[in-house]
Structures are given as structure tokens and as C-alpha cells.
Symmetry: C2
Amino acid sequence: MEEKIRFMEEALREAEKALEMGEVPIGAVMVRQGEIIARGHNLRNTQKNPLRHAEIDVINEAAAIVGDWRLEDCVLYVTIEPCPMCAGAIVQARIPKVVFGARNSKAGCAGSVLDVLNEPKLNHQVEVEEGILAEEAGALMKRFFQRFRKNKKPEESLS
Amino acid sequence: MEEKIRFMEEALREAEKALEMGEVPIGAVMVRQGEIIARGHNLRNTQKNPLRHAEIDVINEAAAIVGDWRLEDCVLYVTIEPCPMCAGAIVQARIPKVVFGARNSKAGCAGSVLDVLNEPKLNHQVEVEEGILAEEAGALMKRFFQRFRKNKKPEESLS
């Protein structure tokens, strides 16, 4: 199996954990030298913390493992296009490449709303590959929002 | 003394702590119902963590105190215009107002490079007041970068 499919499947597994907890189902893994060094999923509601997006947790854990704020030999896999905060954190960490699944038309910052990952005025630009297992990533989101509409919990909005 | 000057002086005090540690001197405080509930300063190099900007630490602490990911009755004071990551975190936390000192022409996301704080396509917009003790905030940065140029430590760049 192609390596990036395998890594995105692991990110999707993380997203499923979020769904089971009633969180917006987004998952991520950080890959370094062909190995997953950090995994995470959205925990915003459970932890009552706006920073606990999958990407932020994974960057935090990877920095502790690498021992540097620069994650220059890492690739971030995430099921959904990153929001402004997470895209900004990816730039801050100097991550050279991000692979994501489905687009986020309401808050995505790899081109959907803004293009933080490739803003020429910032001092770091990120190679982006999109569409990997996009259908699976989108299906998880759809399941969450169908449930959300049924239960009417407005605090669990995506962005 | 006008209240916002007093709060920005506290943010500057935080920035001075960063300068003393050899960190880019940026400080922040979170104000709720007229009281400072969280303080923080940039710790990126010391903690070897790209997320440890002043604003992120202060949002993290404030969320733990408020017990919610929404900081809807808080005002964030920060000495320098927020970067993409921090501006995105401010939007995620639904903070209604940000007061900052000096602009950051290289990475500022309250209008200098991008305007994440007031992007109409996102689901939250932030009231921004700028220029409060801007000269003092800028002077601290200048002191840092003069020292930086002398010591040639490229890892301590601003953004």
C-alpha cells in the first residue's frame, strides 16, 4: 500500500476516536523518517480548550520528541484542511509538507478561505498535497454533523 | 491612569521577562471583568516548542480558569501584533477584543500581512485596538534584535 494512504488511515483512526467522544472528527499524525512519531485528535469540547485541535496536539508532542521548535524533517498528515490557527502553527514549526484529506470550505487555510500555508510574505511556505482519502474524511464529518443537527448542540460547530 | 495603559504595562512587563531570557520580547495578559486572569511571555526557544508564544500560553491558561473553550468575555492585551497562529487561536477562542502595541510588518495578522482577526469569511471577527504603548513594545524588540545581530543567532528570528 502506498505510504501516504497508510499514514492517512492512521489519521482517520484518530478522527474516529474524536467522533466516538462527540468531538468534531478530525485526526492527525506526524511522520518523521518514515515513522509516526505523534498522533492526535480534536479534543476541544472534552478539554474545554480552544487550542486542542488535532494538529496542535501533534505539533506539541512532536516538538517534545524532536527536542526543537523546528520540525524541518517532519510531514503532517491531517484528515481535514487546517484552520487559521493550525496552519499558522505549521508555519511556525517550519514543517515542510502537509498532506490533508478533505477541504474545509468554512475555515480552511490551505487555500479555501485564506492560504496561510503558502503566503509569500511569510518566512515559510509549505508543500501541500490534498485529497488523500478525502471521501473517508468527509464521510466522518458528515456523520458528526448529521448527529449534531439531530441533537442541536451549537457549541460543537466546526471552526 | 487609563485602564488599557495599565494592562499594556503588565503585558510589557511580561515581554521584559522574555528579553531577559534571550527570547523574542513579546508579552500578553488576558483581562476578564476588569481583572488580569492570565499572563504570559514568549518561551519558544527556552521550551523548544513552536507553540509557546505569549498569546497561546495566555489563552491556554485563561481557558483553564474560565472552564470553557469560548473566552467571550475576555480582552487580550499583547505587545506586538499577533502572528497567523496566534490570530487564529484568538478567533478559535471567540475572543471579542484584542489590544496590541506595535505592528509586526513581517508576520502580523491584524492587517499587516493578512487580516485573520477580521476575515469576513470566518465565523468570528475581532475588535482590534492598536498603538497602545507601541513605542515601548517596539523599543524592546529593537533591543533584542540589536543583541541578536551582534550574537548572530539566526534561530531567534521573530516569526
